[in-house]
């Protein structure tokens, strides 16, 4: 159980998390690490494949400089360990005896074959919380299917509603498919830790399905419900929406503006503004007034009137003037806009971290803004940087034993 004084400025105590995740789970352990957990990334001696994934500074690949690895491994520690050797497995078992959490996203059944599944590890550590994040969950006919970011987007149907109506489905960029499962895993781990530390003393096993997590991340499109009630398949609507009408990303003088209307009052405000600018009385027609469903049949007319209006402004004018009229007008940003956004600065999103390969960079660690706690403040670890402190310091291995493990390619 975490001690009473070990929290520092962090939201959670430095509980020990052994991190066996790949792309599917690395954001889960990052969340826990940024909150203050002592996350130890267990990498094969050749290094986590994430280290080989770009982008790299000046496009020069290096094991210690992948922006992908640096982003997803803030506030973690790193050890190397070859789980494919019996010695490696026995060392992992020893580490698991005192760990609070193990998180993995290996193929279903892989750890069981190595004797490192929850059943095997919890015997000597009943307080262990273990979470598996897999493409389709640990059970069911699809459990062993192969996946990837693209496949996850497809299998969940998230792609079915991304892109233009007359074009093929498009995946969202940035490997977005990995966030939902990783986030739910963090929720379940926190709940299991609460249950263990505040109520029962017992750990448990968590099974997270990436496919199901992604389905919940587009709940308001209600794909299965639309089939059940209407035998219709929801599909792509470009930048529009079937939920908020009108809504979209619209061309303006210098780029794009995104805008949307939900309430009857917002509609009245927008219609009045469009009328003031274009002088076209059609926009004030009674039949467009009310909620989204009243406007749904008239989208084409409304969109045409909106485009006539938006063409007369810059994005910045529309954003600020729209908001002053109590309307949801928002900029269409790229990554550089985020880095320069005054609101994100004021919200304490950014933490500057120094890393010897990259110098100081801004990282978006401030998911929550609070005077009561702060995100942890360490850059990602170098490969195996914590071997000595963990293997010698915690497991009591001698320097000689360490050398033996190294030459046997165990660490």
């Amino acid at each position: 159980m975490p001690s009473q004084t070990s929290y520092g400025d962090n939201l959670i105590a430095p509980c020990r998390v052994l991190d066996l995740t790949d792309d599917k789970g690395v954001f889960c352990t990052k969340l826990l690490a940024d909150y203050g957990a002592d996350v130890v990334r267990v990498e094969p001696p050749s290094g986590d494949p994430g280290r080989s994934k770009g982008p790299f500074p000046n496009d020069e690949p290096g094991m210690e400089s992948s922006a992908y690895y640096l982003f997803y491994n803030t506030n973690k520690r790193s050890i190397t360990l070859n789980l494919e050797t019996s010695l490696g497995r026995s060392i992992f078992k020893q580490l698991a005896e005192t760990a609070d959490v193990v998180v993995e996203s290996l193929p279903v059944g892989y750890l069981k074959n190595l004797g490192l599944d929850y059943e095997s590890l919890s015997g000597s550590n009943p307080g262990l919380v273990m979470a598996s994040i897999s493409p389709f969950g640990q059970t069911g006919p699809w459990k062993d299917l192969k996946s990837s970011d693209l496949i996850a987007m497809a299998a969940s149907g998230y792609m079915q509603i991304t892109g233009e109506p007359d074009q093929p489905p498009v995946r969202q960029g940035n490997e977005q498919s990995h966030f939902p499962g990783a986030q739910y895993a963090a929720v379940a781990i926190m709940a299991a830790l609460y249950h263990r530390d505040m109520l029962s003393g017992e750990g448990q096993y968590i099974d997270v399905s990436q496919q199901e997590a992604l389905i919940t991340f587009y709940t308001d499109a209600h794909p299965a419900l639309a089939w059940m009630q209407m035998e219709q398949n929801v599909t792509r609507v470009g930048t529009n929406s079937t939920l908020v009408i009108p809504l979209g990303a619209y061309p303006c003088q210098d780029g794009w503006i995104s805008a949307g209307v939900i309430t009857p009052r917002e509609w009245d405000s927008l219609a009045q503004w469009i009328y003031e600018v274009t002088g076209n009385e059609e926009i004030l027609n009674e039949k467009y007034k009310g909620g989204n469903q009243e406007r749904a049949p008239h989208m084409d007319v409304i969109t045409a009137l909106f485009l006539e209006f938006s063409a007369r402004f810059t994005a910045d004018e529309l954003f600020h003037q729209g908001q002053k009229r109590n309307l949801v007008f928002l900029p269409v940003n790229d990554v550089s806009d985020l880095l320069h956004d005054t609101q994100l600065d004021a919200s304490h999103l950014w933490t500057e971290l120094n890393h010897d390969q990259t110098g100081v960079l801004k990282y978006p660690l401030g998911i929550f803004d609070s005077e009561d706690f702060a995100p942890a403040q360490s850059a990602a670890p170098s490969l195996g940087q914590d071997n000595q402190s963990i293997y010698e310091g915690e497991l009591g291995l001698t320097a000689q034993e360490m050398a033996g493990l190294r030459s046997a390619r165990v660490i």
């Binding site: 489905p169 794909p223 089939w227 990303a249 908001q323 940003n333 978006p364 803004d369």
Partner: protein, 407 residues
């Protein structure tokens, strides 16, 4: 029955839309008692969606909560909310501070009622800073957080998903911090007030591209469905209306398996497709050849034959596929639920009941139940909360209902 993970925690949820209710539903499924405060006078617009069946979508967000009606804009309503907060562990809301202050339930008043309450304040763009009065929706935050310009092809308009996007990131971030703050309170005796924002949740996911811009002064490449190291990698048209199968072939082993499934036709043996590097350089031609194969088959057939050979492939699932999925049925993911047919201008107690379906949580836990629970109508739990919990007599509840305070 096994003890629930968050047994004994009481949470008060005040606010509409997607992210906040989703947070409440997740915490309720883990065993917290989540009391949702609403009023018939100003209903959540989400109560009226989807457009084809108003209200049928609400169980996904509101299941397993205790739902009460209380007009917190009235003096008596405010007092009752503070009395409820005095016996609660968490207050979460997405109203602006100036509005909470006008009602007399801003954070100082809430802390006075319950000094160690954990407060989660969810904002759209951020509570402090230049946009603090500005409004937003999750669905548009995909444009504001940068992801729509990272998707699609170079030069194409922003690419959007037809959903509330970052509301879901926020909705699933919030439970982690709420549970963590409750543990911290239990262990250290310190409570927490924290603010989230939909904008910030989206920006967090911009990920490595944020570092790349700082390191190399460039924006992420828009790769559509393609990959920087694997090909073929995309969606391919199959038989049927709007049917596609996604295929991602990574490495030479999977390429060999892929070619074998196709019967090793001559084109697959050509030099221009012989290595991953060659395939990447000849992707347009490669995609055309793959598409000529897939169009002859159903997307399910393409998926099944490739997966049997160990090649990652999946149908682009449509609503019917998800609804009928044997896999999701085996995992008991979608379940039947009642719902109430929302009608504008009519008191919720008059709404008809009908059949709908809702997802269950996308995770299972081995020792504590992850509960589907029941679906209450707006105000259905008034007598439990006001009577059993706060000790109001039936006469008093009737009087306050008459005065449209409990309403």
């Amino acid at each position: 029955m096994a003890k629930r993970a968050l047994e004994g925690i009481r949470i008060v949820e005040l606010g509409p839309y997607v992210a906040l209710p989703l947070t409440g539903r997740i915490l309720a499924s883990l065993g917290a008692e989540v009391i949702k405060v609403e009023t018939n006078k100003v209903l959540d617009e989400m109560a009226f969606i989807p457009a084809w069946s108003k209200g049928a979508g609400q169980p996904d967000y509101q299941r397993h909560k205790k739902r009460i009606t209380l007009d917190v804009r009235t003096d008596e309503g405010k007092d009752l909310l503070l009395r409820l907060l005095a016996v609660s562990d968490v207050f979460m809301t997405n109203f602006r501070r100036n509005i909470l202050s006008r009602w007399g339930v801003d954070f100082p008043e809430v802390r006075a009622a319950r000094p160690d309450i954990v407060i989660m304040w969810q904002t759209g763009l951020g509570g402090n800073g230049p946009y603090y009065t500005y409004k937003s929706f999750g669905i548009l935050v995909q444009h504001m957080s940068g992801v729509s310009l990272m998707s699609g092809s170079p030069g194409s308009p922003p690419v959007a998903v037809n959903t509330s996007y970052s509301d879901y990131h926020t909705g699933v971030f919030q439970p982690t911090a709420i549970i963590a703050a409750l543990m911290r309170r239990g262990m250290q005796g310190k409570t927490a007030t924290m603010e989230s924002s939909i904008f910030r949740s989206g920006a967090v996911t911009a990920g490595p591209a944020i570092l790349d811009y700082q390191l190399n002064n460039r924006l992420p490449e828009r790769r559509d469905n393609r990959d920087s190291s694997a090909a073929p990698h995309g969606v391919y048209r199959c038989q049927g209306d709007d049917r596609y199968c996604a295929i991602s072939v990574e490495g030479d082993e999977q390429w060999a398996a892929f070619c074998h499934v196709l019967g090793n036709p001559a084109w697959t043996q050509e030099l221009r497709f012989s290595t991953a590097f060659a395939r990447l350089n000849n992707q347009d031609e490669l995609d055309r050849m793959v598409g000529e194969w897939t169009i002859q088959l159903t997307s399910k057939k393409v998926m099944d034959t490739l997966q049997q050979a160990g090649v990652p492939a999946s149908i682009v699932s449509q609503g019917q596929d998800l609804h009928d999925s044997e896999h999701l049925k085996a995992r008991d993911f979608y379940r039947e639920t009642n719902y109430y047919v929302a009608e504008r201008g009519t008191h919720a107690s008059q709404w008809d009941e009908g059949p709908s379906l809702s997802w269950s949580m996308p995770f299972n836990m081995s020792k504590t139940p992850v509960e589907f629970g029941n679906y209450s109508n707006i105000g259905e739990d008034n007598s439990y909360v006001f009577g059993d919990l706060l000790g109001l007599s039936p006469t008093e509840i009737a009087r306050l209902s008459e005065r449209e305070v409990i309403y």
